[in-house]
Symmetry: C2
Subunit: 108 residues, 2 copies
DNA sequence: TTGACGCGTAAGTGTTTGCTTACGTATATT
DNA sequence: AATATACGTAAGCAAACACTTACGCGTCAA
């Protein structure tokens, strides 16, 4: 049994700072120092948050000279969307209309 | 200023058990004992988790005799969906096709 | 009224988080 | 070679978390 280690995605995104980090990586790959400039905490703290995101599979790192560029892996957020989608019917009537449109279109 | 109290939604849903509780409440309102039967932890532990969900505004409680029926408030999950929707374009090509379909339809 | 039921809460405890400073290592610069 | 840069990691610590058992309080049943 290969143990799926570490924090799951839901835990990883529970911290506001980590969510912001993902948001930053959505724009572009970034080095640690670049990201650290956006936060008040120390650079090692940022590193540790990135580690959590890395363990959760939400980012990858690529060495680039002496930098480490972090890169977003948005696919892993799919499980969050999947879970939350069960609730959508209750608060997103826009999506409901969309779904209706689609089922008409596909002739189901 | 009425202070938006307590743990935020992202923290509230970070725990697997609490997510399962919401899932249960999606089917129907439930009393604490009914829910506790679905978990291995003690009944007070379940109560405490429900408290977190309550503080996050994800559920409400209604007294019903000596029971307390918990009721889902899915609207609060909107902020999760809002956040995650920024990432959808990258991993949900089904949605992309959907959006294309829609924009064609609306003649943009 | 007496007792069982349904529940919240207090108190105690081990574990995990989130941060800091100090340090080590690899790469680049001079 | 010596130094600066970019980073991870170790160590330490306070706070938060997740649980437990013990208890108290309102409600329904006999």
């Amino acid at each position: 049994m290969t143990r799926e280690r570490g924090p799951d995605v839901f835990t990883a995104i529970s911290h506001r700072a980590r969510r912001r980090m993902l948001d930053l990586l959505l724009e572009a790959d970034r080095s640690v120092n670049t990201m650290a400039g956006q936060f008040q905490m120390s650079r090692p703290a940022v590193s540790q948050h990135l580690r959590v995101l890395l363990d959760a599979g939400l980012v990858t790192e690529r060495r680039h000279g002496r930098e480490r560029r972090y890169h977003l892996v948005p696919e892993r957020l799919g499980q969050v969307r999947d879970w939350i989608s069960h609730y959508e019917q209750f608060w997103d009537d826009r999506l409901q209309r969309l779904q209706k449109t689609l089922s008409k279109r596909s002739g189901e």
